[in-house]
């Protein structure tokens, strides 16, 4: 078993790496025998090569922006060797990362640096640093998410049963399109639609007719001028006027004037 001691953790390391049969496993043993199931659990505590690399970097208090690639690569590969010696099946991603690290290491040794499109020099570690940082922030985000209070663990929805429900039926929905379809169909069937003149009066006049009729119905006499509200503007006044004319034409209202130039009233036609 090669170089197990190289893999030993800092003595200050107190993080629980794994549990073996319920016992916390604080460190990898310095040498000697490592229970295979312990290593398996150890491996499972890593969510992949990035997670393992982050661990190796963090435990040595290295700034992620300045990874000593040679060192980290050696530790990483030793770790993989260890796993393989334990006959543990490693995911291919771990091996791909080992190759990536080796490549970065060799590029750092090249006399001529790699240039980007703009002729600027590229640090061979830049991409790895980016990926490590990116992974780290989502690893942190997952921990933050897990710390949020959530239902069924920290919060419980209150509920109180309603023992006897009543059967309620909701009236059916009607769309405006259905309504317009209905008026078109009925008007097509009606002769007045095709042969007689269809008034081009805007519907606001019919609506105003209803409102005036309602008022007349409850109040009896209404001074003609009360039908017009200045703040409705010119258009509103025209609508009211047309509505009154139409109501008179349909014999629903009549105008009453006691003498010339006196106030004009409207009232329901009786």
């Amino acid at each position: 078993m090669p170089l197990v001691s190289e893999l030993s953790l800092d003595s200050a390391e107190t993080e629980i790496l794994a549990r073996v049969r319920g016992e916390p496993f604080l460190q990898l043993p310095q040498d000697l025998y490592i229970p295979p199931d312990a290593l398996e659990v150890f491996l499972e505590t890593f969510e992949g090569p990035l997670d393992l690399l982050l661990y190796l970097i963090k435990r040595q208090n290295i700034d992620i922006l300045n990874i000593p690639v040679a060192d980290i690569t050696r530790q990483y590969v030793e770790y993989l060797d260890l796993m393989q010696n334990m006959r543990l099946e490693l995911a291919a991603e771990y091996l791909v990362m080992a190759a990536t690290l080796a490549e970065i290491k060799s590029r750092l040794l090249l006399p001529r640096p790699t240039l980007d499109d703009g002729g600027e020099e590229i640090d061979p570690r830049a991409e790895l640093v980016r990926r490590l940082q990116e992974y780290e922030r989502y690893k942190q985000a997952a921990e933050d998410l897990n710390a949020l209070p959530r239902l069924e663990r920290d919060l419980f929805a209150g509920s109180a049963p309603l023992l006897e429900r009543e059967v309620v039926r909701k009236p059916p929905p009607v769309s405006l399109a259905e309504l317009l379809q209905a008026i078109r169909e009925v008007m097509q069937r009606a002769e007045l639609y095709t042969q007689h003149q269809v008034s081009r009066e805007p519907l606001s006049v019919r609506e105003r007719m209803s409102r005036i009729l309602e008022t007349a119905n409850s109040e009896g006499f209404i001074p003609f001028t009360d039908l017009f509200e200045i703040d409705e503007g010119r258009l509103g006044i025209i609508v009211s006027f047309l509505a009154v004319l139409e109501l008179i034409r349909e014999s629903l209202l009549e105008l009453v004037q006691s003498e010339p130039f006196a106030l004009i009233y409207i009232r329901l036609r009786t």
Binding site: A160, L162, V168, R169, L179, I183, R184, V186, A190
Partner: protein, 225 residues
């Protein structure tokens, strides 16, 4: 530690079943559960707190439960309400005629539709709060004059009826549809694929012509809101 009363309240509301005094006692550290009496007193104080509220604390065979007051069933039951049958064509046409031709009597609706309008239809629309009696026409029988209500406008998200397309405009669309039909019949090939309707620029009335094998039915413009 929070008051016993509030732990009991929270547990009763979180549980899906009635909780016995023993079960409530078991929520505490084994070494120091509250006495049966203490739990009972907490329950009674909660019952007093809930007097007159939307829920009540009752004792049933297997323990205590907080439940919705039965008087609130008419409202709360609507959480699970079902849709009724859709409106008949007759109902929709009646509603549309009242909207477009108000104030209008039932007789006038029947005259336009060419068939009688049942009292049930009028009642359904009145119950829904969409139409109402505005007055009466002073002719023999004094028939009621119907019009639409504010609730009707609100339902269809209209500020005024003036936002509905006027009849003439609907007819114009039909007339264009008919012309297209006429064109179709002049051409031997009966299908006109994707005949585009000119859309009136003033309204957002998008026209959809489906000119398949129904020559006597004019195409149907769909009005989108």
């Amino acid at each position: 530690m929070p008051a016993l009363k509030f732990i009991v309240e929270a547990a009763l509301l979180a549980a899906d079943e009635p909780l016995s005094v023993e079960r409530l006692q078991s929520l505490f550290e084994e070494s120091q559960p509250p006495s049966r009496d203490a739990v009972h007193r907490a329950v009674i104080r909660l019952q007093e707190d809930y007097a007159g509220r939307g829920v009540e604390l009752v004792e049933v065979a297997s323990g205590f439960r907080i439940q919705v007051r039965q008087e609130l069933a008419p409202w709360v039951s609507r959480l699970w309400e079902e849709r009724s049958m859709r409106y008949s064509r007759a109902s929709l046409e009646t509603l549309a005629l009242i909207a477009y031709r108000q104030p209008i009597t039932r007789g006038e609706i029947e005259e336009v539709r060419g068939v009688s309008v049942s009292s049930a239809i009028i009642k359904t629309l009145q119950d829904r709060g969409w139409i109402k009696v505005l007055g009466h026409r002073e002719v023999p029988g004094r028939p009621a004059l119907y019009g639409t209500t504010r609730a009707f406008l609100d339902y269809f998200n209209l500020k005024t009826l003036g936002e509905l397309p006027p009849l003439a405009e609907l007819r114009d669309l039909d007339a264009i549809g008919k012309q297209l039909d006429l064109l179709d019949s002049q051409v031997d090939e009966p299908t006109v694929a994707s005949a585009e309707m000119p859309v009136d620029a003033s309204e957002d009335t998008s026209a959809d012509t489906s000119n398949d094998a129904t020559p006597d039915l004019p195409s149907t413009p769909e009005t989108t809101t």
